[in-house]
């Protein structure tokens, strides 16, 4: 999509090969018994629980962030009081994959 905006589609912006080289990408899916959880949100948090970004989950339960290199916390919120968390590390040129199971 055009990047003259803050707009991001559910699940996160699509990446191309050259982007993957330049960016520190954190991505993954949220699943419930193997089925995607498409209603919910993924949040990227920095040091001290500092909120950095949030995306709605895609139809496939997916999310994607373009982070700076370093340590992050991912938090997933979904209906029914679901609140899951995982620590991740991101680095330039790497795609860090994180899977959540509700």
């Amino acid at each position: 999509m055009s990047n003259d905006s803050c707009g991001a589609p559910a699940g996160g912006v699509t990446i191309t090969k050259d982007k993957a080289v330049k960016e520190a990408i954190v991505e993954g899916h949220v699943l419930n018994a193997g089925a995607p959880v498409s209603t919910g949100y993924a949040r990227l948090l920095g040091t001290g629980d500092e909120f950095v970004a949030e995306v709605p989950l895609g139809e496939d339960g997916g999310f994607r962030f373009f982070a700076a290199p370093g340590d992050w916390t991912l938090r997933v919120l979904a209906p029914g009081g679901v609140r899951l968390e995982q620590a991740v590390s991101a680095d330039i040129g790497q795609i860090t994959k994180v899977e959540f199971t509700v």
Binding site: N3, D4, S5, C6, G7, A8, P9, A10, G12, V13, K19, K22, E23, S38, T39, G40, Y41, R43, L44, G46, E50, F51, V52, A53, E54, V55, P56, E59, R64, F65, F66, A67, A68, L77, A78, P79, G80
Partner: protein, 280 residues
């Protein structure tokens, strides 16, 4: 203005679904979210297709805004209830437009789409049809919008509140972390700006924090002087519309402007002062 004039809760909205004189409008960061399901009777405004000038970098003019609202079946005396995802980020931006063009009765659904979804309230894919109206907007309210020369003249004089993330503020990133890193020519922030990331004003469920928490956040923690005029900015003026809403509409500070040119304009200007590094 105060909280009760500008925010409504989900029960209030649920009770008014389909009520005459009330128009519920979804404005989302992800403009396709509406198609996945929306609050019954809600119409959509696409912040990009509907609210931006297609050629110049500017938003729709008065005539364009009148045409948009007329087409969507919104009357001057309707109560417009705005909501959207991501802590009402883009709904706040639309709210600022409605105020800019003089719409009197406009409120935000506290918590927006996220809280509605997390509460498992009803969403529908039915698209309502509304009869066209003949909407009349006022001229833009210049007291709500800051342009670049005013921002430059405000360095060291007014509060400048940079509402981007600390990494964008410091110059380490040029865009939010869920978007590719492109845009302005330089990273950093406007000298003297305080960094209060917009999302700090929201609870995890997307609702706005309580007044005393907000006052503590901006005044006590960040050092924003509530006795001075304030300009809020971010990257393209949308996150800062959320902060404008907090300062001007919820806390009722009198002179708060949104600089919608924001960092994509300022960070590409030739010869202007820039600071880099973390907030002080």
């Amino acid at each position: 203005m105060s909280r009760s004039d500008v925010l409504v809760d989900a029960d209030w909205v649920e009770a008014r679904i389909g009520a005459p004189g009330t128009v519920i409008v979804e404005v989302d960061e992800d403009t396709s979210a509406y198609e996945k399901g929306h609050i019954p009777s809600a119409i959509r405004i696409d912040w990009k297709k509907d609210l931006q000038d297609p050629v110049r970098r500017d938003f729709v003019d008065k005539i364009g805004f009148e045409a948009l609202l007329s087409d969507r079946g919104i009357s001057n005396d309707d109560t417009v209830v705005l909501y959207g995802g991501n802590n009402n980020w883009f709904a706040s931006y639309a709210y600022w437009y409605f105020k800019l063009y003089g719409h009197q009765n406009v409120v935000l659904l506290d918590g927006g789409r996220k809280k509605w979804e997390l509460d498992s309230r009803e969403l529908t894919r039915d698209v309502p049809s509304r009869e066209k109206t003949s909407y009349t907007a006022t001229e833009q309210d210049a007291t709500l919008r800051a342009l670049r020369d005013e921002v430059l003249a405000s360095i060291g004089k007014r509060n400048l509140v940079d509402v981007r993330s600390p990494d964008e503020f410091s110059g380490r990133l040029l865009a939010p972390a869920h978007l590719p890193q492109e845009q302005s020519q330089r990273g950093g922030h406007i000298p003297t700006a305080k960094n209060v990331p917009w999302s700090k004003a929201a609870n995890e469920d997307g609702t706005f924090k309580a007044d005393d928490e907000l006052t503590e956040l901006y005044s006590d923690e960040a050092g924003v002087d509530f006795g001075k005029d304030t300009i809020a900015y971010c990257r393209i003026g949308e996150r800062s519309a959320h902060t404008w809403f907090v300062l001007h509409e919820i806390l009722g500070l009198p002179n708060v402007k949104n600089y919608d040119g924001s960092w994509t304009e300022y960070g590409s200007l030739v010869g202007v002062p820039i600071e880099i590094g973390d907030g002080k």
